[in-house]
């Protein structure tokens, strides 16, 4: 895993959160690994989750199988980042 690749995944995820959820770039810029997502952010309803995953797939050029998806990966920003990095940089 290169640091530039890892940073690019981080930037892409933050951009997707801004675009899909309509959160401000400032707010998303302050997210850290412990920031809670699903259940903590009102904009993140189930349809938005599906949209979020689709956008992540398209922008990172990855495919998330349904059996790979677990609710835990959306619990925190850190979980989502680790999952996305593993998929994108494997």
């Amino acid at each position: 895993m290169t640091s530039t690749g890892a940073e690019k995944v981080d930037q892409t995820l933050r951009a997707v959160l801004v675009d899909v959820l309509g959160l401000s770039a400032d707010e998303v810029g302050k997210f850290d690994e412990g920031t809670e997502l699903f259940g903590a952010i009102p904009e993140l309803d189930s349809m938005a989750v599906a949209g979020l995953l689709t956008e992540i797939e398209e922008r990172l050029g990855i495919w998330i199988d349904d059996d790979e998806f677990e609710a835990e990966m959306l619990e925190t920003y850190g979980n989502l980042l680790v999952f996305s990095r593993d998929k994108a940089l494997q």
């Binding site: 899909v20 949209g51 979020l52 349904d66």
Partner: protein, 230 residues
């Protein structure tokens, strides 16, 4: 200047009648809007009606039909199939003379109902739409496992994004690709990866939980349509 007056009218299809919203000068060029399908429609309606207001000010009459079983339709979705949507839109374009068709997201799957020029924005294949809906349910419903997901296409109807989607419609949607047609221009969001004839710096309101619209986005779409129809 006072805002343009909306008119609720009916269009005929087979034996039935459905509502459509019409906005803009009666003598203006007529634009048919094919809205997104199912839950994405609800999230996009504000964007579309804001766009219609901007179009009306620019002298364009636009028509936003209710697709059967969605919006304010009298028909229920579980009595609706894909051919109903196709037939209804084909009837509408035969009944009225349109100068162009603008379609958004899943609405693009129906834009071969006429041969007039078409503009697609953020088109999506049916299989991606149904996958999003199934995934959205799976996120919150632990019981919606692989067996239940398969049943969407076999036993249904299945609640997806608030609609009890019947089997035939789910299957038809899964198999629906963007129609091959002449005279089509495709737009996408700046953030979209695929190529397009034009891009607009907007937000994917069809994914948003809060249907607040986006005035800059709807205005940019309206401006694009005005140039394209001219």
């Amino acid at each position: 200047m006072s805002p343009p007056e909306p008119r609720y009218r009916e269009y005929a299809w087979r034996d039935g009648r459905e509502w459509m919203l019409e906005l803009g000068p009666e003598n203006g060029p007529r634009l048919l809007i094919l809205p997104p399908l199912l839950e994405e429609l609800n999230r996009s309606r504000k964007l579309l009606t804001d766009m219609m207001r901007d179009l009306a000010v620019a002298g364009i009459l636009s028509v936003l039909p209710d697709l059967l079983g969605t919006g304010e339709s009298l028909q229920t979705i579980d009595a609706t199939d894909w051919e109903d949507w196709r037939d209804a839109m084909t009837s509408l374009v035969q009944e009225q003379q349109f100068s162009g068709i603008f379609s958004l997201r899943g609405g693009c799957l129906l834009d071969d109902c006429s041969t007039v020029k078409a503009m697609r924005f953020a088109p999506v294949a049916g299989k991606n739409l149904i996958r999003d809906l199934i995934r959205a349910r799976g996120v919150t419903d632990k019981g919606f496992d692989a067996v239940a997901q398969k049943a969407v296409f076999e036993t249904g109807p299945t609640m997806l994004g608030g609609y009890p989607v019947p089997v035939a419609l789910a299957r038809a949607l899964r198999d629906a690709d963007l129609p091959e047609r002449a005279d089509v221009t495709t737009g996408r969001l700046e953030s979209d990866v695929p190529d397009a004839d034009f891009k607009i710096d907007g937000t994917p309101v069809w994914r948003r939980a809060e249907p607040s619209g986006s005035p800059e986005f709807s205005r940019a779409l309206a401006n694009k349509i005005v140039d394209w129809l001219a």
